[in-house]
Symmetry: C2
Subunit: 632 residues, 2 copies
């Protein structure tokens, strides 16, 4: 299903050229222009038609932040060619707690990226095909599962899959701008289908309330900034020269992002697009299917060219759903680094058969599916949890970079030109740190009561969880370490017990195996639930002339486990320093679906023996259909 296993030596072959790296790492920030404008309009629309002009200010601020953040992260690409995600940069420059804070923030936001992008991609699909409406949860979950499968196959194949919708989306957005420009130049008056709908709005947004509304609109539009981190995190996946290629890709992404976001916002304002959370706020009957802002703009711009409209919607859906892929690259890689540093379970550390971090991919998919189901695939509710994490990690990462350059500048004998370049980088990062810090405060203030509190609780939980995991691994490592010069154990005597229910072929095999261990003492144990069975067992014992003594344990409560545990515990007490072993004969059926037909009590007993008295347990398998005693 996920392809043949790949040899470790082929890891080098999967390095990415720029033209494939762009769609893989940048589908998230590029695609978010599909809904960023709409999110601004939704908030300012709360103040009525009169306040729509606030959009201009919010959009301008977002463009400014976007430019600064892209410039900042370009510095990171050069400084950390081995991959400079917020976690690594914070760890190297700000210490462990800052790094774990950044990591918690990023893990939460990767999950939200998947959920938000996929849900909004599904919204693009239902805008074009209204009959699919109502199946949002099923469609979203299906797409997340599909993405997980593709990523389990490996990174190179996915790069090719992602190139088409990303470049297609960029192309059709620019084509839409071109169409709009030509039609407006030829004197057409273009209006959105919702232009004449009233906006039922609460009045009285003046003074502080007006400022807060503007800030909230800005905060909602900041979704356009998510995923910029991905490139700096993924520098090692680029072809050589890695840093330069990564920085260039980041620049190209920035240019695309800024122009597309600005263009869409301008067209939304020119066409008078009106949007609202509920159809009733626009004076429409409830249950009316409302097309997205981008869908309205596209329909108006392309005029009668329905084919172009449907193509743009298709590419929008494609790029949005694939934007979730940024997280499918970032999350498992970050989880693997955290597991390597022993902050997350070690299962997340290893690459699977196909050279990808399989467990991280599965974990991310499950978490995103959980969120989608929990929030009923409603974009407006999910978006409230989004971006907090991104700006926490932005701020920490940029602050870390300022420190990085300071220590670089402290290197003695640095050439003047280097020194000059480092200072410039430091200034850019300082600017980024301050700006993203301010945005973080704004986002927190305006989104907290609307759902962001969930993230504000989840992040510290993750943080303390990772610290506990780390403490646990440190303690285990200390306790497992062999003392210097320690020798293998030399047990004082070996005491073996064979557990039998009947003297059948598996029991005969197990008794023989136990005798071959040449133990100091050897007993057979049986539990007396049914006195008839015990009598039959004694008779068989005599008939076969078995010289191993048979101990009968009584069980008034028809329980097999307790009497055995008590007896074994007793043997342990009588032989301190000795090796106590319980031998369990086990008959194996040849087909797995037959196994539940056989009593699982042996499996339960084994776990209880290991975890309880902590004795050694031997499983002597006897295979049916193709096995006989004396097999191996």
């Amino acid at each position: 299903m996920v392809g043949r296993p790949l040899d470790s030596a082929r890891l080098g072959e999967t390095l990415l050229p720029k033209r494939l790296a762009l769609p893989i790492f940048c589908s998230d920030p590029l695609s978010s222009v599909a809904y960023a404008t709409e999110e601004i309009l939704l908030v300012v629309g709360l103040g009525g038609v009169a306040l729509l002009s606030l959009t201009w200010y919010a959009a301008a601020a977002i463009v400014l932040v976007l430019v600064v953040v892209v410039a900042s992260y370009r510095q990171t690409c050069y400084a950390y060619p081995g991959g400079g995600g917020a976690y690594i940069v914070s760890a190297r420059n700000l210490g462990r707690n800052a790094a774990l804070t950044a990591a918690s923030a990023l893990l939460v936001d990767y999950v939200l990226t998947v959920a938000v992008s996929v849900v909004s991609g599904v919204a693009a699909i239902t805008s074009a095909i209204p009959s699919l409406g109502g199946h949002d949860v099923a469609l979203s979950v299906g797409f997340v599962a599909l993405l997980a499968l593709m990523n389990l196959r490996g990174v190179r194949e996915s790069g090719r899959v992602f190139a088409v919708p990303t470049y297609g989306f960029v192309f059709f957005v620019y084509l839409m701008f071109g169409c709009a420009a030509v039609r407006m130049a030829t004197g057409a008056t273009l209006r959105a289908e919702s232009a004449d709908l009233p906006l039922h709005a609460a009045s009285g947004y003046t003074g502080l309330a007006l400022v807060l509304l503007g800030m909230r609109a800005f905060a909602s539009g900041c979704t356009a900034l998510t995923g910029v981190e991905a490139i700096s995190n993924g520098v090692p996946a680029f072809r050589r020269p890695k840093s330069r290629n990564a920085a260039t890709t980041l620049l190209v992404m920035g240019i695309f992002s800024v122009t597309m976001f600005s263009g869409i916002t301008v067209l939304a304002m020119v066409y008078d697009v009106h949007v609202a959370a509920q159809p009733t706020d626009l004076g429409l009957p409830p249950d009316t299917a409302m097309p997205t802002a981008l869908a309205q703009i596209a329909r108006t711009s392309f005029g009668g060219a329905d084919t172009l409209f449907y193509l743009l919607q298709a590419f929008t859906a494609g790029v949005l759903i694939l934007a979730a892929n940024t997280a499918f690259n970032g999350f498992p890689m970050l989880a693997s680094i955290l597991a390597e540093d022993r902050y997350l379970p070690r299962q997340l550390r290893n690459r699977g058969d196909r050279l990808v971090f399989s467990n991280g991919i599965i974990l991310l998919a499950l978490a995103a599916i959980g969120l989608i189901i929990l929030f009923d695939a409603q974009l407006t509710r999910l978006i409230q949890l989004y971006i907090i994490g991104v700006f926490v990690s932005f701020t920490l990462s940029q602050t870390g970079m300022v420190r990085h350059w300071r220590s670089e500048l402290a290197t003695p004998g640095l050439p003047r030109r280097e020194r000059h370049r480092h200072r410039r980088s430091q200034a850019i990062n300082a600017c980024g740190a301050v700006l993203t810090g301010v945005v973080l405060v704004i986002v927190l203030l305006t989104k907290f009561v609307h759902g962001a509190w969930i993230v504000v609780i989840a992040m510290p939980l993750l943080f303390t969880g990772m610290r506990s995991v780390h403490r646990h691994y440190r303690r285990v490592e200390r306790e497992l370490a062999a003392a210097p010069g320690a020798r293998p154990w030399e047990p004082a005597g070996s005491h073996v017990m064979v557990l039998v229910n009947a003297l059948d072929a598996p029991a005969l095999k197990a008794l023989g195996y136990a005798r071959a261990m040449r133990p100091t003492t050897l007993d057979a144990l049986t539990v007396a639930v049914d006195p008839d069975e015990v009598r039959a067992l004694h008779a068989q014992w005599d008939a076969h002339g078995i010289d191993v003594p048979l101990q009968v344990l009584s069980s008034p409560y028809r329980d097999y486990t307790r009497p055995v545990l008590d007896h074994v515990q007793d043997v342990c007490r009588r032989h301190p320093g000795g090796a106590v072993t319980v031998v369990l004969p086990e008959h194996l059926v040849s087909r797995w679906w037959e196994q539940p037909l056989h009593n699982q009590s042996a499996l339960r007993l084994r776990a209880r023996l290991l975890f309880g008295p902590g004795v050694n347990v031997v499983n002597v398998p006897y295979r049916l259909s193709d096995g006989e005693p004396g097999d191996r």
Copy 2:
């Protein structure tokens, strides 16, 4: 949660006096009078007001069948004091296939009894408290879970719990009859609240269609007969003289059932109760909450005495929900008998800590909950699947009894009085067999397209499933049996391999343990995923002066399992007839929730070693926090 474990010796104490046996075994047939009349009215109502008089014929036929079936089963109680369920009677007299057919039928119907009774009990509750409507699924599932818990506690406690609602229900139904009689005698004209509602009905029920409608009404009302089987099945649970007490209880139940069913039906006809599947069929707006027929009758009979009405509704709900308990007695007991005869997995055979068949109880609860969720707790849909199974087992059981008496009569030297009594019993059972057979055909014909086909598919599936299980157990038993005079295995040499990742304390303990087994050959195995780790391991090996040779297995695909399996398979091939053992050092953390933090690869490897090459596997546990090497 389910009480302290009980000693096997206390099994005798749980025998039931008649006054407790009645509510335990008879709540099902008694409670079904709460909905049997309504089911008849629902069907005849399809033909409009004119056809309501068909109810008289259907009800009379049902009373006749009920009398005959009760009389028949009283013979069974005497003939089989050890418990004469349809399965046992069919097995002894009609052979294995008939017995398994009866068993499949009963298993299916026990599940349906739980689902139908609980759902209709919830309907009684929502009839009295309409604000609970809409939560039917949750309420039903909750009650099934509650019943399962009570039954897991044991049969004696449950007997007391069930006495109150069963006797309360019987008392209040008779009180209702009394009130109605007194008020009618004093000249009051009593009419149901729905008496004047029109019945929107398809016209044209004449000739064959009319006959079919009557038969369908009869078939629907036959739900009153379910559960009669329970007493004959449960004879061993009665106090001595078991057979006579069981037969008497059955007679009392029959008298209660016939009088209550007749009374309710008469009142429904006198009051002109109109019911329909949809509110719109009665000219009511959709979403109108419709009270049950019994609720309407009770409200009319009690007049203004609201307290009495609510008490009756409460006891109705109680007895209906507890009726499901009949199945919680019957299903696990039947499953245990089938498991004893090796037609079902052996886990169903054993009594648990509290002397009840815990696994059977849990299985029944899960199946019923599944049905309730699948059918959205809609009584009208569930009832279509019901009764087929009951009449299959009735017919088989009565036919078996006819054969039973024939063989009894063939006993030479039987006294004349005995012979006379046997002949009478045989005649009664023959009458029962013919009548229930005819009813089975009617039920199949009239219910098949309305949902009964599901049961018609499920029963043969269960039948073939049980036969496959039986074949499997027979084969395994043959293969497990030791040859006469067989001796324990004497392996030709012992070849032990210790799997290590690092030379830590668990590895030192395992190496020492393996050496104490005094094997012919002893090796340490490690898998080379990371060359650095292998180098470090070699260095440790030298530092500690370990004289066990270290074998390094290469793994290009970063997989630990495959190389080990291949190597072990190879060792097995080189030493035929020898005992090959793999020793797995295992470190155990002291808290269970810490376990997932450690690689589960050892567990996976163990299963693969046992099921794959079939070698012996030793787990040498090393406990952290409180363990050291040389522990035991």
